[in-house]
């Protein structure tokens, strides 16, 4: 595994799942790591994540902040900068929400919230992080996207649109900041072993597994490993692309 000693990382939506696994992987590799979470009901999980991060001995920071709120993002970055002794040189835009409903029945507020968190949130975090990265002439941005961006998903048009938008943002920003030594890439996790998957009926689970050539769900750590790769020196020549960590689900 690459050594991230001396690197500063911010993972948005880091209280659980892929975000938590990614934050932990960076901390275990020597990085100073910050994460945020948004909903108060996620506070207990955030506290567990913070404790796990602290146990690695890394310099860490956990903060409650809604990435859809520009003022909150500014405050988050100020807090991260103070806690990690500098601005992040790796940004992982992982924070995301869903609002499952068929489009005809999707309330406007649901559409807005999904786009605001998943797409505008990434925009605001990139915009803020870039100032430090350009000053340092180095940086890595990894955006967590989804197969839904490529194939669409019934009942999740807002989520799919937000992730499709994030793929396009990834490519555009990669072109804009390449000359500053900053890379911008996506990671597209397929079905990850989470509580959602564990709660499915056996037949629903089998139906999903039939779509995955590797025949199993991903562990969050397997997604985190690819985020670390893109952020490491070994990933230096990739930009504007998306790596599909999905067991062969999409093959694009």
């Amino acid at each position: 595994m690459s050594d991230f000693t001396g690197r500063r990382v911010l993972v948005t939506g880091g209280s659980r799942g892929i975000g938590r696994a990614t934050a932990l992987a960076f901390a275990s590799a020597g990085a100073a790591v910050a994460f945020n979470w948004s909903r108060s009901e996620d506070g207990a999980e955030a506290a567990e994540t913070l404790a796990a991060l602290e146990a690695t001995g890394a310099r860490v920071c956990g903060a409650q902040a809604d990435v859809a709120d520009a003022g909150a993002v500014t405050a988050l970055f100020a807090e991260v900068r103070a806690a990690l002794d500098g601005p992040p040189d790796v940004l992982v835009n992982n924070a995301a929400v869903t609002h499952d409903a068929l489009l005809m029945m999707l309330p406007e507020s649901g559409w807005d919230r999904v786009i605001d968190v998943n797409l505008k949130g990434a925009f605001l975090c990139c915009k803020t992080a870039l100032r430090g990265m350009i000053a340092g002439r180095a940086g890595r941005i990894v955006n967590v996207v989804s197969p839904a961006a490529y194939f669409g998903k019934e009942g999740a048009s807002s989520y799919a649109a937000s992730k499709g938008g994030l793929v396009a943002l990834t490519k555009s920003l990669a072109r804009e900041v390449a000359r500053y030594g900053i890379t911008v890439n996506g990671v597209s996790p397929g079905f990850v072993q989470t509580k959602l998957i564990a709660d499915l009926t056996a037949s629903a689970r089998d139906e999903l597994l039939r779509q995955i050539p590797l025949g199993r769900f991903a562990e969050p750590e397997e997604v985190a490993a690819v985020v670390l790769f893109l952020s490491s020196p070994a990933g230096a020549y990739l930009t504007g692309t998306t790596l599909h960590v999905d067991g062969g689900l999409t093959m694009i």
């Binding site: 870039l130 000053a135 500053y180």
Partner: protein, 86 residues
């Protein structure tokens, strides 16, 4: 810092910060910073935003402010004088 010193400092920042191939004293006060003037493009402007914000403690949050601040070397000095904390 008076205006004359500030003008010299801004020219120095442009020349060294942006690695221009000209000495600061060759930069004209009315040179447009982008395009014809110093030959910089809009992506070079991103670094200038960061350099000016860090050095002079001003905020250039978006394109609208950037266009005003970077109209010319003189305009940039005017902007800094008007916006920097006293």
């Amino acid at each position: 810092m008076d205006r004359h010193d500030l003008l010299a400092e801004v020219k120095g920042l442009l020349a060294t910060g942006l690695r221009l191939d000209i000495p600061p004293s060759d930069i004209q006060d009315d040179s447009p910073i982008f395009g014809e003037g110093l030959g910089l493009d809009s992506i070079d402007a991103l670094e200038l935003v960061v350099l000016v914000e860090d050095r002079f403690h001003v905020s250039i949050p978006d394109e609208e402010v950037g266009k005003r601040a970077f109209a010319s070397v003189r305009a940039l000095v005017d902007f800094i004088v008007a916006e920097r904390p006293s």
